[in-house]
Symmetry: C4
Subunit: 189 residues, 4 copies
Amino acid sequence: MTTSRLEAFSDGVLAIVITIMVLELKLPHGDSLKDLQPLIPTIISYLLSFIFVGVYWNNHHHLWQAAEHVNGRILWANLHLLFWISLFPFTTGWLGENFNSTIPVALYGLVLFMASLAWYILTKLVIKHEGIDSPVGIAFKNDYKTVATMVIYALAIAAAFYEPWISMAIYALVAALWVVPDKRIEKMI
Amino acid sequence: MTTSRLEAFSDGVLAIVITIMVLELKLPHGDSLKDLQPLIPTIISYLLSFIFVGVYWNNHHHLWQAAEHVNGRILWANLHLLFWISLFPFTTGWLGENFNSTIPVALYGLVLFMASLAWYILTKLVIKHEGIDSPVGIAFKNDYKTVATMVIYALAIAAAFYEPWISMAIYALVAALWVVPDKRIEKMI
Amino acid sequence: MTTSRLEAFSDGVLAIVITIMVLELKLPHGDSLKDLQPLIPTIISYLLSFIFVGVYWNNHHHLWQAAEHVNGRILWANLHLLFWISLFPFTTGWLGENFNSTIPVALYGLVLFMASLAWYILTKLVIKHEGIDSPVGIAFKNDYKTVATMVIYALAIAAAFYEPWISMAIYALVAALWVVPDKRIEKMI
Amino acid sequence: MTTSRLEAFSDGVLAIVITIMVLELKLPHGDSLKDLQPLIPTIISYLLSFIFVGVYWNNHHHLWQAAEHVNGRILWANLHLLFWISLFPFTTGWLGENFNSTIPVALYGLVLFMASLAWYILTKLVIKHEGIDSPVGIAFKNDYKTVATMVIYALAIAAAFYEPWISMAIYALVAALWVVPDKRIEKMI
């Protein structure tokens, strides 16, 4: 089985997720600048999630450049990843309306954490299928970056119960770190 | 006629269905954990339907790996399948709001049943077009699994008039059975 | 310029239109069979429009199987077609809520008429680009079916001012006529 | 890295943006012609934005016909462009409800301006990657049209604070100018 349809389907889901998040930006009732003001947290949440989906799309792109085949388990591991990403519009919208509340901030981080975990499982299954000496095997063998990201998300979730703004700063930092494209794989190809 | 555009269009519809179902997850008004609680049935319905769409995408993927050509009737049989799947967001949303009510639970099963029937018709038309000795003909000749699934859905619909929770358990069981990828076809390819 | 990206983009738009129309099926407030009853006109409208979008997708598929190149004018003629089709969710939703009212029924027909006209212009531009003796030129030279459809739509729009149900019957008839795939082109390929 | 998946993903986002903008066309409560009247500004805004998205899709199509490779920075420059385009449904909807108000008209222009700027950055990065003597380098070397468009948008934004209708006329003019396909690139290919 080749990867092309898996890529097309994932592209579709990621493109829809990244776009329907904007539907949470409800039109303001007035027409002045101050009517836009309450939307600022929603816009920031949207931007943050847009970057995270962009990161997943980029990494996904890199992974399937390196990998060449899929099996049934990989298809489901990929759907598992898409499931968590499909919850982004919900957690992003709720975060936008409750920017400084513990539970929305923590839930946002939890879904990020689960997506990272799903990504980690997906890469492990792909390595197992392609072989440890394949390009993807070498590139993702020691995926410290994903593991570190999961640890940081766990800390951010915990921090939300103490001070939600700390969690928000951590999310922004993680987003910034991942925008840098994955040099390891680019070097391989 | 080749299958590539049919696959691309179906991927598009399935990707959109799987993603817009999440729009039924309305943002809670408060920001606490107990505000999320009423959403639990909707989340479970969403997860269930996500798996069903994933199963259809997987099976669709397998079918068009094995088959190579389409004709006008196959294009419409495929649209017929997509029609029933396109109703998933509606039945899933209604189920999520009425988790223990006969009609929403039965309607959810009815749409699943109709999608199964549409899938069954589609595979029969593809076999007829490709030939009984083609890879797809051999793989789908005795599609007991789809027939059994339809019988089980019929039982689940009936059960909803007696005790909706039994139907829900049956749906979950069917989803679990189908997550296992179709060995028959994988063996063929 | 090849047709592949034009096909991919059009598939995307058609897949989204066919799927978001279902968002007009608002969840009923109750959980009984009679709560579903007011949705019947909306479901019928949805089914009708689903078939029309399916017809356009099928015809589009056939056209680009026969044609091989595009130019700037063809790209815009295609976008012009997609514009009218993108209005289907609006006219379908309004029709569903006002099944027996002159203006919604007439507007539904007007948008169908405009989409037919856009389709007609698109095929003419493609013929001009490919040549009158090309496969697409021969297949679409005397497109009586599209012209007849436009005349019928015009009659249906007029009929809506007399008796909307007549228009609805005409729309259903046209949909049925077009579900039959285009033999002319299939023969060519 | 080849451009195919970048094109597929961008096609997806553009197709979704162009289609979900129609969701801002809320169904009128009545069923008469005068119930449609308040929707006229929204329909005009929709048409305008539909054309702008169509222009971006066309230009995007041309750019990747000429260019052949991407790197990480180009992927992000492309996502940056898609981010601003993804805000079109919001600014279009707000404009439709406040056709003659300074802030909505100016914001609409600001997002157009930012999308133009993102497009400009994207082409510069592609030229840098492909080389100044590559087809894309020659075609986009002196992209006066994009620069002029940005200047015009800036003027339109300023005009909104004086008389919003002037800005609207300018937006319509720019849309009309861009509908003409990019001859420079077509000549190259």
